[in-house]
Amino acid sequence: MSAKVLEQLKSEDFAVSVGFLSTAGALRRFLGRTSEVAAVRQSLREGAITENTIRGFVSALIESLRIGERLPHELALSALAVALETRPTDFADEFLRGLARLKLAELSLVIRVARECLKRRVTIAHRTAKAVDLAGASEEMPLLLAGSQSTFGGNGCGRTNAHLVCEVQ
């Protein structure tokens, strides 16, 4: 797989398959069901790509940013935002928060998608923290959620900044 999973997010086929969606919430939902986003998540889990690979890919996309023009491949960035939404790492936080705080017309779509992803990420964090409280577990205690799959520390959960998040499949 490797970086191919990222390159396919830039393809016209992918862009056309998305069709038209008016709201960031709907786009987030749709992207979360695509095989392309699943492939990015899987590649990250299996180490076929790393967060540094994504960092390089994003930097290259951002180089084409021009004032007054929509960023080409906004959908690719949006798909990455959705792929990273449940990833419990500082990098995912940096990616989503970095996008969500921008106020750029040129990136308006992906900014709105990133904000939607952050809302969902916080919800997951709160739900998980509550589960920890209810279980009377310490913060360091591994947390096993039914249906969760490992991507981080062996149990799909981890701490990133102030948030405890889990990857929910």
Binding site: E12, A15, V16, G19, F20, L21, S22, T23, A24, G25, A26, R29, F30, R33, R55, V58, S59, I62, E63, L65, I67, G68, E69, R70, P72, E94, F95, G98, L99, L102, K103, L104, A105, E106, L107, S108, L109, R112
Partner: protein, 184 residues
């Protein structure tokens, strides 16, 4: 990661949009689509729009909600605020059996979370292609903030293909129908 983008400073533009009751509605004035967005619009139109008509080619500035509620001046992105507009502006949901009129609204609502996916404007009730077919709403839609405006049968939308389970609602700003019906 986005330091370069941050250096540009804020470039978002918005205008004042309020409901009839004076609630401020968040909005942005979107840039015009570039070559890539136009090509994508055309490709989606060619793939899915066999029975669509085009009123206007790909254009920026407004989305579906901006089309029907902001006179094509801005994009209103938050579907929760679309509900506020419906309430503040005195729209009512048409009950089953009451046909929509031209300029009424059609809402496509995601059944999973009741979020509005899209809003379009009814152009007319049009007879279907076969002789026995009933009249169906023909709709004008701005499909997203970079698309063109297309005319389509009310059910001829992509949401099913995109995996959404959705319902169709008709909303009007007209008072409850009187006994005397106009010929539509």
């Amino acid at each position: 990661m986005f330091e370069t983008a941050e250096l540009l400073g804020p470039t978002e533009k918005s205008i004042i949009v309020q409901t009839r009751k004076g609630t401020n509605i968040k909005n942005t004035v979107e840039p015009e689509p570039g070559f890539r967005e136009r090509r994508r619009y055309q490709a989606v139109f060619d793939k899915f729009g066999n029975n669509w008509g085009e009123r206007k080619t790909a254009t920026g500035v407004y989305n579906c909600a901006g089309h029907v509620w902001a006179s094509r001046r801005a994009s209103l992105h938050d579907p929760k605020q679309w509900r506020v507009i419906l309430a503040d502006d005195g729209y009512r949901l048409l009950p089953q059996g009451e046909d929509p009129f031209p300029a009424d609204l059609v809402l496509y609502v995601n059944e999973e979370d009741n979020e509005i996916l899209h809003v379009g404007q009814i152009l007319e009730l049009r007879k279907g292609l076969t002789t026995n077919s009933s009249r169906k709403p023909w709709v004008l839609s701005k499909l997203d903030d970079q698309s063109g405006e297309v005319m389509h049968w009310v059910e001829d939308v992509l949401y099913g293909k995109q995996g959404f389970s959705f319902k169709i609602e008709y909303w009007t700003d007209r008072a409850i129908e009187r006994e005397t019906h106009h010929e539509r």
